[in-house]
């Protein structure tokens, strides 16, 4: 690895001061499960690594049924998927966080790193978008809250400015009759990168779907929000036929590529299958949440 300076800030204020001074030369660092691999292969060569997890604000983890969930950007995925409130109220996010790498990787990999790394296959990103999550960004100029939807603009590219750091994620409170789910397809059960992933949120009134969000991963340069499928589902009774049609619409929204992990046709087919299954899983959970 190239030579660099490691900095362990004791607050977010210290992080943003440092970023304002050194900008592109400095790089936030959390679990290192993406960036250390990239630095070792010479893809990234920051002069300073700023350890965001040493600032206590980034380790925050708070759930309030009325206000929702706040998760610090540096909280490791293992803690996200093990948290009782996440498992109960945001099971799709727990599913996504629990799919990343191995136990070894999940003990280090953070939500902030998964988003900022901006891989089309990042597992927690579709789950966060489906939940309507926002990322809180800080710089010396102040704080802004941006939707996770639209955060990634191209593979490896985001709207994050060079002087900004993600401090936490804010997830809306659980809704009566609402629930999420995340499913992905990988050739191996653990330790593999998604060939396709689908995160959904649905809100049900009886058998009727009053709101649906469907977000596709690994089948385009960024995560794709399947708006047509979402609009189609609104107000409909979720039977096999309706769910299958929505799944077809979602598959049409995908713009997958051919690579070693799968062909375009295969990926489109996967999107339909995963959308159908995750909608049914979320609808079942949502119905259990109606009382």
């Amino acid at each position: 690895m190239h030579e660099f300076t490691y900095v362990a800030p004791s607050s977010v204020e210290e992080i943003v001061q440092f970023l304002a001074q050194h900008r592109e030369k400095a790089r936030p660092f959390c679990g290192g499960t993406d960036i250390l691999v990239q630095m070792r292969s010479g893809v990234r060569r920051p002069s300073y690594l700023l350890d965001v997890k040493t600032a206590p604000e980034t380790r925050l983890f708070e759930f309030d049924p009325a206000k929702g969930l706040r998760i610090g950007a540096a909280v490791p995925c293992a803690d996200v998927s093990a948290d009782p409130a996440v498992r109960r109220y945001y099971p799709g996010l727990a599913e996504a966080a629990n799919l990343i790498g191995s136990v070894q990787i999940r003990n280090r990999a953070s939500l902030g790193g998964n988003l900022a790394n901006a891989s089309p296959a990042a597992d927690t990103v579709p789950a966060l978008i489906a939940l309507g999550a926002k990322a809180v960004l800080r710089s010396v100029q102040g704080q802004r809250e941006v939707p996770v939807e639209g955060f990634v603009t191209a593979p490896g590219r985001t709207i994050l400015n060079a002087d900004e750091v993600i401090t936490e994620f804010v997830i809306p409170p659980p809704q009566r009759g609402g629930a999420d789910a995340y499913l992905r397809f990988v050739p191996r059960n653990e330790m593999d990168i998604a060939v396709a992933g689908v995160g959904v949120f649905v809100k049900m009134e009886g058998q009727r779907c009053v709101e649906a969000r469907i977000v596709l991963g690994a089948v385009g340069p960024t995560q794709i929000v399947a708006s047509e499928a979402m609009a189609y589902l609104r107000g409909r009774t979720l039977n096999e036929g309706v769910v299958s049609h929505a799944a077809e619409l979602a598959a049409q929204a995908a713009s997958p590529i051919d690579d070693v992990r799968g062909t375009r046709e295969f990926r489109r087919h996967l999107v339909a299958v995963l959308t159908r299954r995750s909608l049914l899983a979320a609808a079942k959970r949502a119905q259990a949440n109606q009382s």
Partner: protein
């Protein structure tokens, strides 16, 4: 590059070392502290040969910086045995012939310890998931899984009967 002084706790003992920020914890363990039990395989987080416990949690030491060990508790395979007495896990690996070339073994032992530290009654499927981040090119995994299940059984019995 200037070296940084790091104070850490290694297998229960306070240790101080000097390292460059770019050195991984794996490099520090092997090349600075001469603890070569922890192995290097891929350096990309895929094989688990470099597994250590960091504040009680299993991580790939190839994806941790040595400087991050400041103030942390690190446990490596060297800390498993008590003097000349092997730990239950180590003994079961031998009894079940859960190793051939042995390069993956320290990583498997550490990952298995991380599981059993929290769950002394894992199902086979839980054992397989807990070890999914560790690769072995020799054994075909089955004997490793059986060794871990058997170690858990002995440790449960020991807990029950003192």
């Amino acid at each position: 590059m200037r070296k940084v002084a790091v104070q850490t706790t290694l297998n229960g003992e306070p240790v101080e070392f000097l390292c460059e920020p770019r050195q991984s914890l794996l490099e520090v363990l092997r090349d600075v502290l001469n603890l070569t039990g922890t192995k290097e395989g891929c350096l990309t987080g895929d094989c688990g040969a470099c597994s250590v416990l960091f504040d009680g949690r299993v991580v790939c030491s190839c994806l941790v910086l040595g400087v991050e060990a400041q103030g942390a508790q690190i446990q490596t395979v060297e800390g498993l045995a008590h003097g000349n007495e092997l730990s239950v896990l180590q003994r079961k690996f031998l009894e079940h012939a859960a190793l051939q070339c042995g390069i993956c073994t320290p990583g498997f032992l550490i990952a298995a310890k991380a599981l059993l530290d929290h769950n002394l009654n894992p199902s086979e499927s839980e054992v397989r998931y807990a070890l999914a981040g560790n690769l072995c090119r020799c054994t075909g995994y089955d004997k490793i899984v059986r060794a871990v299940m058997d170690a858990a059984k002995e440790m449960r019995e020991r807990e029950a009967y003192g």
